[in-house]
Amino acid sequence: MDLRRLLLRLAAARPHVLLVALPGATEARLAVEAELGRRGWPAAVSPADADVLLVAGPAGPALAAVVGRVWEQMPEPRVRVVVEVVADVSGTLDSAASQLASWTAARPEYGGPGPREQEHRGPEHGGDEHGGHGGGMEMPGGLPMADLGEDRDGLMLDRLHVALGPVLPDWPAGLVLRVELQGDVIQEAEAEVLDPGRGGSSRGDVPAAEDARHAAARHLDGLARFLGVAGWADPAARARRLRDDLLAGAEPAAVRGQVHALTARVRRSRTLRWLVRGIPAGERAVAARLADRLAALDAAVDGAPPAQPGPSRPPDLAALARAVVGAELAAARLVVAAVDPDTDLVAEERGARHA
């Protein structure tokens, strides 16, 4: 049908890309984000919204399963691509777009042409509101329902077990937060990083005693993700743009003015201060961690030497999990974004221990 082909072509000029960042592949993620920004392609926030599944880095077994599941969740037309080498980001995106533009239902899918797994799962249950199935206690989808647990008022109410991550917008690569939710309040939490030790050496390109440019870029990246979680898209986009400029080779001194303007704007925002006030996040509250980051960012572009040149320690995931207990989901996301655990380092640490 011609109209369908026309619409596919129109849409393919601006596909929504779901980026799956893997631990140890920060460089690939940054390259992809920079290219998406240049093209003006939106980053999808969930598989339902995505046309392109872009996996940045080599996936270990656990993350490969995650990628497979996310792929299953995406509606067609859809394209799956992997970026492992920074140099071929642009070409990969081009080919994804052209595949979408010339998409036909008959196209064999990436990863084997077999029928989709879920179509074999027996009768559909969704719209069946007449209670006609006499099966009794057989639950749809084979899943149980949430069980009871005590809430902070001492009431017994359902506790829903949800695994947050590793594919969420502005979320540390590979991190999974297994939480027990009552409503949207977290009662218990557990944090882990999937596939630690995979590709952990890719940070070799970012020297340990990093220079001011990389320090500034790293802080801008963290700031952009924090602002993204806080729902402040405009300065988040500016932070990303400055980060990309720095990584593309701009001197910190050249962007100093813009960075200072950005940090000043974030600091000045009374609304942001009011929104993050009083959210504890372990040793330091969210607001204090944000202030730290802004100060470090300013210092980095001012050419000050990095405060602690010592070896970076892996993040304390147990402390992170403790910090989100009792928080409402939005606050928990802010906590994670403020702590911003460097999951690449978890990889190195675990990898070293196994060796």
Binding site: R4, L7, L8, L10, A11, A13, R14, H16, G37, R38, R39, G40, V45, S46, A48, D49, D51, Q73, P75, E76, P77, E124, H125, G126, G127, E129, M139, P140, G141, L143, L160, V162, L168, P169, D170, L181, G183, D184, L227, G228, V229, A230, G231, W232, A233, D234, A237, R238, R240, R241, S269, T271, L272, W274, L275, E328, L329, A330, R333, L334
Partner: protein, 316 residues
């Protein structure tokens, strides 16, 4: 009772067909303008075809249904949003006359926009998804915060004209736009209108932090209807501020319909810019402010206007 003034009748009936297209066109313009602002911040090119691309993309996209989803409520919720938005839009004076000149126009408007409560909750509930549920519930919490200030703001405008009919409210501003005597109600109205369309900075129900929240599991035409309905709701809610506070089609030189268009465009631009100035305001922070700052403020505003009306009534 206000004198039975020579109230302009409603537009001819065929306008009911034009109205949805008109609103969709404005909503598309809003999408394009918003996206071009976003592109500018990121250093990319703007794209005027963007609303067409997005709509086309969702039309050819596959729909999906989650395990054990409540399809009835899920789909109904999405469809209610555009229907409610257009039905709320029938009382908008497009120039001098609205599509339906209801004597209880502003109450009708209020009743239709409140359907968003049900719609967003149903869309969040439907897919049997934890993040969707959180999004749906966030909107109800937000509604509990913005709805009372919203009602008081509308009532204040109605009080100024002593009529619930939007055309009467416009007529009552012949001498003085209501924004002058009720600035607080005007500002609160705009705040609550953006909150009702869960538009930034009140976009927590479809927030990034919950991967799209209520909309997280929507794809294909379901997403198109929901997202389109949300834009329509924003356009209609903001557009009603023109007859309520900005004198409707009043203005020199230009015809009334053009004035309405210009004023609406200015307000929409304002809303788009404000969204860029603020991070997402979560309902847990906003509720108390809404109740103990906005509600008393709007009540005082209503009192001031009531005294002005009494004064005027005494003179007449």
């Amino acid at each position: 009772m206000p004198e039975p003034m020579s109230a302009p009748a409603a537009l001819p009936l065929w306008w009911v067909v034009v109205l949805p297209f008109l609103l969709v066109a404005v909503a598309a313009a809003v999408v394009a303008a918003d996206a071009s602002l976003t592109a500018r911040a990121r250093g990319a090119r703007a794209d005027v075809l963007l609303p067409v691309r997005e709509a086309g993309r969702l039309l050819v996209g596959q729909r999906r249904r989650t395990v054990a989803a409540d399809s009835v409520l899920w789909r109904a919720g999405g469809a209610v949003l555009p229907v409610a938005a257009v039905l709320a839009g029938v009382v908008l004076p497009l120039g001098l006359r609205p599509v339906a000149d209801l004597s209880v126009g502003v109450v009708w408007f209020n009743a239709m926009e409140v359907l968003a409560w049900a719609a967003v909750w149903m869309v969040g509930w439907g897919p049997n998804s934890a993040l969707g549920l959180v999004g749906g519930y966030r909107f109800v919490a937000q509604g509990l915060a913005y709805e009372l200030p919203h009602m008081f703001a509308i009532i204040t405008a109605a009080l100024g004209a002593e009529s619930l009919r939007p055309t009467d409210i416009v007529a009552a501003q012949r001498g003085l736009w209501f924004v002058v005597i009720m600035p607080v109600a005007f500002v609160v109205y705009l705040i609550s209108a953006t909150a009702m369309a869960f538009w930034g900075p009140f976009d927590a129900p479809v927030g990034r932090d919950v991967a799209g929240g209520a909309a997280a599991e929507l794809s294909g035409v379901d997403r198109l209807v929901f997202a389109g309905g949300r834009r329509l709701l924003l356009v209609v809610a903001v557009a009603l501020a023109v007859p309520l506070f900005l004198g409707g089609g009043a203005g020199p030189w230009l015809p009334a319909w053009l004035w309405v268009a210009v004023k609406t465009a200015v307000l929409l631009a304002l809303v788009l810019l404000v969204r860029r100035r603020f991070p997402t305001i979560r309902a847990d922070r906003f509720t108390e402010v809404a109740w103990i700052v906005l509600v008393p403020l709007t009540i005082v505003q209503a009192l001031v206007v009531a005294l002005l009306v009494l004064n005027r009534g005494g003179a007449g």
